[in-house]
C-alpha cells in the first residue's frame, strides 16, 4: 500500500487491545474453520438424485460466477459485481429446503440465489449484460435480479432493505391463509441495520412465517465481523426479539439444508419466525474493485481448503453415489450452460431507448393528469428524446419547435392545461406521441455517446468505487 500501512497489522491489533466483543469472546481475526466445528455433525446423504441436484447447482453457481468475473473484466458487465464464490453450500443448502410455493428474497449478492431457485442462467447473464432479455429487463443489473415465476422476489442493493419486505411478504402469506413461507437471506453486515431489530420484533410479535438466513461470510466489505458486530455469534442476535436462532456449517450443504428445513417447518406449522446463521467465507473480493488489503492470502487459502463443492463431490465419490467421471460430467454441463448464457446475453439486444419511461407507473386511463415529465410538455426533456443526442443540435431544436408549435409563444400560451390533458388522453399515457416519429430513431450509438468525453467516463474502472 502506498503509505506502507498494513491494516491487519495495525488496526486489528489495536482493536484487540482496546475493545472486547459484547459476547465476551476475544476478537481474534475471523472465525477459524474449526471454531464452527466443521465436519462434527455428519449428515447421511440424501437420495442420489438429490445429491446430484445439490452438486450440480453448486457447480453451476461456481462456474457462472467465475465467468461473470471474466465478463466484467471484458467490460461486458458494468457497475458493481458481487460474486458468491465460496458461499454455494449456504445458498443451495438453504434454497433446496423450499417448496415451489415458498418465496425467496435476497441481497445484492444474489446470482447464486436466483440460479439455485431455478432462474435460467441465460436470464441472469443477460441481466448482468444489461440486456432486454435479462430477468429484470436490464433495468436492475447484478444487484437487482428478480423472477416472479420462481417466486424469487429480488435482490436489493440497500443493505438491510429487504428485511422489512420479507416480513411483509410473510404478513401476506399469513393474511391470505396460505401455508407459504418466505426465506429471507441477508449478509452478516445487514444485522447492524435498524431494520434487523425492527423486523425481528414484528415478525415475532405477529407470528409470521418467515425464516431469516444470515449468510455470514465474515465480512461486510472490508470490515471483519468482529470489527462491525459486538456479538459475533449472529445466531444469538435475534433471540432477544423473540426469533430463535440456530448456527450451521455454511460450508456443508447438508447441514444448512437440515437446519433450514427444520426452521421452515417450524415457521410454517408453529407460526414462529426463525433465524439461521450459516457460517461461510467469501473467497473473492467484496466486489470487483476490492484490493483485499484487509485480510491475508493465507486466511483465504485456509478456507478454500474447506471448499464446499470439492468436499461434497469427494464424499459422493467416496460413498459410491457418483463416479469421478460423473462428477466431471456435471461440471462440464455447468460450464456448457454458462457458455450458452454468455452467447445468449451477447445476442440479446439492449433495451430500446424508447422504453426508458416504461414501468415507472401502472397507468390507468382514469387519471387525466401528468405522470412523468416525458409526457408533461412538448419541450426538450432528458431521456425522452435522447436518440437525438449527437445530431446537429440546431436542427433538433427546430424540429422540436415544429412538432409542438412551441416556436410560437402565443400558441403555447393558448394551449390550456385542459387541451394538454385531452391530448394526453387521446395519446394514451406512456406513448411517446408525435415526438417519436418526428426524428429518426437510433442515430446515436449509445456506446459512443457514453465514451464521448462525459466527465469521468474516461476513468478506468479502478478509479470508481468499491462499494
Amino acid at each position: 500500500m502506498a503509505n506502507g500501512y498494513s491494516p491487519t497489522q495495525v488496526a486489528i491489533r489495536e482493536t484487540t487491545k482496546t475493545r472486547k466483543n459484547g459476547d465476551g469472546t476475544a476478537p481474534g481475526d475471523v472465525t477459524k474453520p474449526e471454531e464452527i466445528r466443521f465436519g462434527e455433525v455428519k449428515h447421511d446423504l440424501p437420495d442420489p438424485e438429490t445429491c446430484r441436484t445439490v452438486l450440480s447447482k453448486m457447480m453451476l453457481i461456481r462456474r457462472f460466477e467465475e465467468r461473470a468475473g471474466e465478463m466484467y473484466a471484458k467490460a461486458k458487465i458494468g457497475g458493481f459485481l458481487h460474486l458468491c464464490i465460496g458461499e454455494e453450500a449456504a445458498i443451495v443448502g438453504a434454497t433446496q429446503a423450499l417448496r415451489d410455493g415458498d418465496y425467496l428474497i435476497s441481497t445484492y449478492r444474489e446470482h447464486g440465489q436466483a440460479l439455485a431457485r431455478g432462474t435460467h442462467p441465460n436470464g441472469v447473464m443477460a441481466e448482468l449484460f444489461g440486456r432486454e432479455d435479462g430477468c429484470s429487463r436490464g433495468r436492475g443489473g447484478s444487484m437487482h435480479l428478480f423472477d416472479w415465476e420462481k417466486r424469487f422476489l429480488g435482490g436489493y442493493g440497500i443493505v438491510g432493505g429487504s428485511l422489512p419486505l420479507s416480513a411483509g411478504v410473510a404478513l401476506a402469506c399469513d393474511y391470505l391463509e396460505t401455508d407459504d413461507v418466505i426465506l429471507s437471506m441477508m449478509g452478516d453486515g445487514a444485522t447492524n441495520q435498524g431494520t434487523f431489530g425492527e423486523t425481528m420484533n414484528l415478525a415475532a410479535l405477529w407470528s409470521l412465517p418467515v425464516v431469516f438466513v444470515i449468510v455470514n461470510n465474515q465480512f461486510g466489505m472490508g470490515t471483519a465481523l468482529h470489527r462491525h458486530s459486538a456479538v459475533t455469534d449472529l445466531s444469538r442476535k435475534s433471540e432477544g426479539f423473540g426469533v430463535p436462532g440456530t448456527r450451521c456449517d455454511g460450508m456443508d450443504a447438508l447441514d444448512v439444508h437440515s437446519v433450514v428445513s427444520d426452521a421452515l417447518a417450524h415457521a410454517r406449522e408453529q407460526r414462529q419466525p426463525q433465524l439461521v446463521e450459516a457460517v461461510t467465507y467469501r473467497y473473492r473480493g467484496h466486489s470487483m474493485a476490492d484490493p483485499e488489503e484487509y485480510r491475508s492470502k493465507e486466511e483465504v487459502e485456509e478456507w478454500r481448503r474447506r471448499d464446499p463443492i470439492q468436499a461434497f463431490a469427494r464424499r459422493l465419490v467416496d460413498e459410491g453415489v457418483l463416479g469421478q467421471d460423473e462428477v466431471e460430467k456435471l461440471d462440464a454441463e455447468a460450464i456448457e450452460a454458462v457458455d450458452e448464457s454468455v452467447k445468449f446475453a451477447d445476442k440479446s439486444p439492449f433495451p430500446e431507448l424508447d422504453s426508458l419511461y416504461d414501468d415507472v407507473y401502472v397507468f390507468t386511463d382514469e387519471v387525466p393528469a401528468w405522470w412523468t415529465v416525458d409526457e408533461r410538455t412538448p419541450e426538450v426533456h432528458r431521456g425522452e428524446r435522447e436518440r437525438e443526442a449527437g445530431q446537429v443540435p440546431h436542427d433538433l431544436a427546430e424540429k422540436g419547435a415544429a412538432y409542438a408549435g412551441v416556436g410560437d409563444r402565443q400558441a403555447r400560451k393558448r394551449r390550456t392545461p385542459t387541451d394538454r390533458r385531452q391530448e394526453g388522453a387521446q395519446q394514451g399515457p406512456g406513448e411517446d406521441g408525435e415526438a417519436a416519429e418526428e426524428v429518426e430513431p437510433g442515430t446515436t450509438d449509445p456506446a459512443t455517446a457514453a465514451a464521448g468525453g462525459e466527465v469521468g467516463s474516461a476513468e478506468p474502472a479502478d478509479e470508481g468505487g468499491a462499494d
Binding site: 503509505n3 488496526a11 488489503e293 415507472v360 432528458r382 443540435p393 419547435a401 416556436g407
Partner: protein, 327 residues
C-alpha cells in the same frame, strides 16, 4: 499551483482540519482499514488512529444520529455515507434532528457537523446507488448544501464546512473523484455562498449544478465554436446559501438562462432556481428559463438507458439554442 485529484483534495482538507482541531473526527463505513469506498480517507487511520477515524457498522441512521449528538456537546464530526442513496436511511436524523435542533431549542445549541456523500450516474450502479439528491437537501431549512465540482472547491469548501457551526450536507460526485485540478497551496477555507463564474459570455447564462457545471462548460465551448453563442457559465458551488446575486446579474446581462442538473425535474434545483430567476429578473428575460435535468425515472442499470437518463453536453446545447428560438 499543485495539481491533484478531487479525492486527494478532499483528503487534504480532512487531514489539515484534523491536525488543526482535535475535536474533528471521522465516522463512516469502511473509511479506515479499507481506506474508504472511494479512497477519500486513505491514510487517515494511520495518521490519526482509531479514536478519530472510526469504522462503523452499516447503520446509517444511527451513525448520523451519533454525529448529531456528539456535535451538540462540542465535537465536530465528519460522517461519510457511501453514496447519497444510503443517506436516505439517515434522512430522519438529518431532517428531524440535525437541521431542526438549533431552531427547536431556541438557539441554545448548535450542530457543527458535516455529512459527506457522493452522488451521480455514469458507472452503471443502477437504481439504488446512482441518483442525485441535492434537491432533497436544498429543501430543508437548517442545512447548508455544498456541491463542489473541482478539486480546489472540494478542498476549500470542505474546510469551510468543517469549520462552520451548522450541519452541512457535502455532496461529492462519483465520477469526479479521479479528476485533476489545480488547488492553491496552503489554501484556506472558501466562503459558502460565492458562485464561480467559470466562463464569461454575454448571450446566455448556463448554471450547472455539481458535475453539470463541467458539462455546462463543455456545452458553452461548443456553443461558441458551432453557433457563435457566448455563454456565461456559473457554478453556484453551494446551494444553501445561494449566491443569487451573481446569477441574477448574469441573467440581466444575457437575458437568457439555462439550468443544468443531474437530478429529477419535479421539485428539482432547476425548478427552484427558475422560480427565483423569474421573481428577480422577469423583466430582463427574453425567453422562458430552460431546464436540463435527469430523466424522470429511477436510474436504470443498462448502459444505453443510463446514458439516456442524465444530461450530456448536447442537451445543454439544445436547451441554450431553445432560448433563441423566438428570435
Amino acid at each position: 499551483m499543485p495539481v491533484m485529484r478531487y479525492r486527494e483534495a478532499l483528503n487534504q482538507a480532512l487531514r489539515e482540519e484534523m491536525r488543526a482541531d482535535e475535536k474533528v473526527f471521522l465516522m463512516g463505513e469502511d473509511i479506515g482499514v479499507f481506506q474508504g469506498a472511494f479512497k477519500v480517507t486513505a491514510g487517515l487511520l494511520e495518521e490519526f488512529g482509531e479514536k478519530r477515524v472510526r469504522d462503523t457498522p452499516i447503520s446509517e441512521n444511527t451513525i448520523v444520529g451519533m454525529g448529531v449528538g456528539s456535535a451538540m456537546v462540542g465535537l465536530r464530526p465528519v460522517v461519510e455515507l457511501m453514496t447519497i442513496n444510503f443517506s436516505l436511511l439517515a434522512m430522519d436524523q438529518i431532517v428531524n434532528h440535525a437541521a431542526a435542533i438549533r431552531y427547536m431549542f431556541g438557539g441554545q445549541v448548535k450542530v457543527p457537523m458535516v455529512i459527506r456523500m457522493p452522488q451521480g450516474a455514469g458507472h452503471q450502479l443502477g437504481p439504488t446507488h446512482s441518483h442525485s439528491f441535492e434537491a432533497f437537501y436544498l429543501h430543508v431549512p437548517g442545512l447548508l448544501v455544498a456541491v463542489p465540482s473541482t478539486a480546489a472547491d472540494a478542498k476549500g469548501l470542505l474546510k469551510a464546512a468543517i469549520r462552520d457551526d451548522n450541519p452541512v450536507i457535502f455532496i461529492e460526485h462519483e465520477t469526479l473523484y479521479g479528476q485533476r485540478g489545480e488547488v492553491p497551496e496552503n489554501g484556506g477555507p472558501m466562503r459558502f455562498g460565492e458562485a464561480a463564474v467559470r466562463r464569461q459570455g454575454d448571450d446566455v447564462t448556463i448554471i450547472g449544478i455539481s458535475r453539470m457545471a463541467i458539462t455546462a462548460q463543455k456545452a458553452a465551448d461548443s456553443l461558441a465554436e458551432t453557433h457563435e453563442i457566448e455563454a456565461e457559465v456559473i457554478d453556484p458551488r453551494t446551494l444553501r446559501p445561494l449566491d443569487l446575486d451573481t446569477i441574477r446579474d448574469s441573467v440581466k446581462k444575457t437575458n437568457r438562462a439555462v439550468i443544468v442538473e443531474e437530478g429529477w425535474p419535479h421539485g428539482g434545483v432547476g425548478a427552484n432556481l427558475a422560480a427565483l430567476i423569474q421573481e428577480q429578473a422577469f423583466d430582463w428575460l427574453d425567453a422562458p428559463v430552460e431546464r436540463v435535468t435527469g430523466a424522470d425515472v429511477p436510474m436504470p442499470y443498462s448502459k444505453p438507458l443510463e446514458q439516456a437518463a442524465f444530461p450530456h453536453e448536447e442537451h445543454v446545447v439544445q436547451a441554450a439554442l431553445a432560448t433563441f428560438r423566438d428570435l
